[in-house]
């Protein structure tokens, strides 16, 4: 009986050691990957219609969020980005970058008609104007709140696509200091 017990105990300790080793290897690597490289998120709300969530609450889009692209805080006008909400730090919002630092934007519904985006800030707007809680409500946001760049829609399968960084021509900044790296503003 004692030999049997010793055997089962040996099996338990070996299993426990293997579990611990796997745990301390797998969990930090997975967490670092999801924090620094890429993760996936479901989009809720109608503020980015028709680019995201055109079906409303029936089917929410799932997007691929790329952290690696924004590790140096480099964004272009027209990118769809996710950021920590300035009004509620527990929430992340997903909007399109309209203007970079130094640009002067013509606002829609902001208390000032024209706003110059300060250094280290960006101006974000949802595509569905009027139904979007964006820079027109809370002003320019600091680049430090940038979370990730949304690059692709992954679900539903009929909406598989790469999200293009396109800026609607009526939302071009009135005056810009920095030129986009891709050429035409």
């Amino acid at each position: 009986m004692t030999a049997g017990m010793a055997q089962s105990q040996g099996w338990v300790t070996r299993y426990f050691k293997a579990f611990c080793k796997g745990f301390f290897v797998a969990v930090p690597v997975a967490v670092t990957f999801l924090d620094r490289v890429a993760c996936v998120a479901r989009v809720e709300g109608a503020s980015m219609q028709p680019s995201l969530n055109p079906g409303g609450s029936q089917s929410s889009d799932v997007v691929l969020l790329n952290h690696w692209k924004v590790r140096k805080f480099e964004v272009q006008r027209g990118d769809i980005v996710s950021l920590v909400s300035p009004k509620n730090p527990e929430q992340k919002i997903i909007k399109r970058v309209i203007a970079l630092e130094g640009d002067i934007v013509k606002t829609i519904g902001h208390k000032n008609r024209y706003v110059k985006v300060p250094r280290g800030h960006i101006w974000v707007e949802g595509d569905h104007h009027g139904h979007s809680f964006d820079s027109n409500s809370f002003g320019p946001v600091s680049l430090g709140l940038l979370h990730a760049h949304a690059t692709h829609i992954l679900w539903p399968p009929e909406r598989w696509q790469k999200l293009e960084s396109v800026l609607p021509p009526e939302r071009l900044p009135v005056q810009s200091e920095k030129e986009s790296l891709h050429g035409s503003p």
């Binding site: 009004k87 600091s142 430090g144 940038l146």
Partner: protein
């Protein structure tokens, strides 16, 4: 750089040792450069993969520790004197930020609102909803303002020599990285 050279030399010595042992055991009669080639390639590839694997693993553990637990930071600048002097080493913990336990009077490290790549170290004077004296020292008339939701008001202890919320306004809570709880004075 010298550490890498040491590592390369030690790897080379291990590989040569490995090859010698291998040849003695198997008694390989083929040309010596063939067996050397084979075992050297296998040995070096294996060692490289193991080295890369360990590096990735330790880098990930370090990232998780700095992001979710805390770390040691060196503060520079005169804006927090006399509490924190220039080039002091402080310990910051990140748990309060994740559990939203930052309170008035805490010294926090945050990303600078005007430059996301640099950090600032200031004291929390007001949380959201608080009424704050917002006028700059040079203003004649004092002005008050309420801290908006989701923001905090930061000020350095050395009010004469500190660029803080009195200049760039309330700072969003999302920019806070950690709270300082221990200081080791260097001087």
């Amino acid at each position: 750089m010298s550490f890498m050279k040491l590592k390369a030399i030690s790897i080379l010595l291990t590989v040569i040792n490995f090859i010698n042992n291998n040849n003695k055991k198997s008694g390989d009669q083929g040309p010596w450069w063939q067996s050397l080639h084979r075992t050297m390639l296998r040995g070096i590839l294996g060692k490289t993969f193991r080295l890369v694997g360990y590096t990735i693993q330790y880098a990930c553990i370090a990232h998780c520790a700095f992001e979710y637990v805390g770390g040691v930071v060196m503060c520079s600048g005169p804006s927090m004197e006399p509490t924190i002097q220039n080039s002091d080493i402080v310990c910051a913990e990140n748990l309060s930020r994740h559990f939203y336990g930052i309170q008035r009077g805490d010294i926090v490290i945050a990303k600078s609102p005007s430059d996301p790549k640099s950090n600032i170290c200031k004291r929390v004077i007001g949380l959201e909803g608080d009424k704050i004296l917002t006028s700059r020292p040079s203003d004649f008339f004092k002005s008050h303002n309420y801290v908006p939701t989701g923001h905090v008001w930061l000020e350095g202890d050395n009010l004469q020599n500190s660029t803080d919320s009195r200049y760039y306004g309330p700072v969003p809570y999302g920019l806070i990285r950690g709270r300082i709880f221990f200081k080791k004075s260097c001087s």
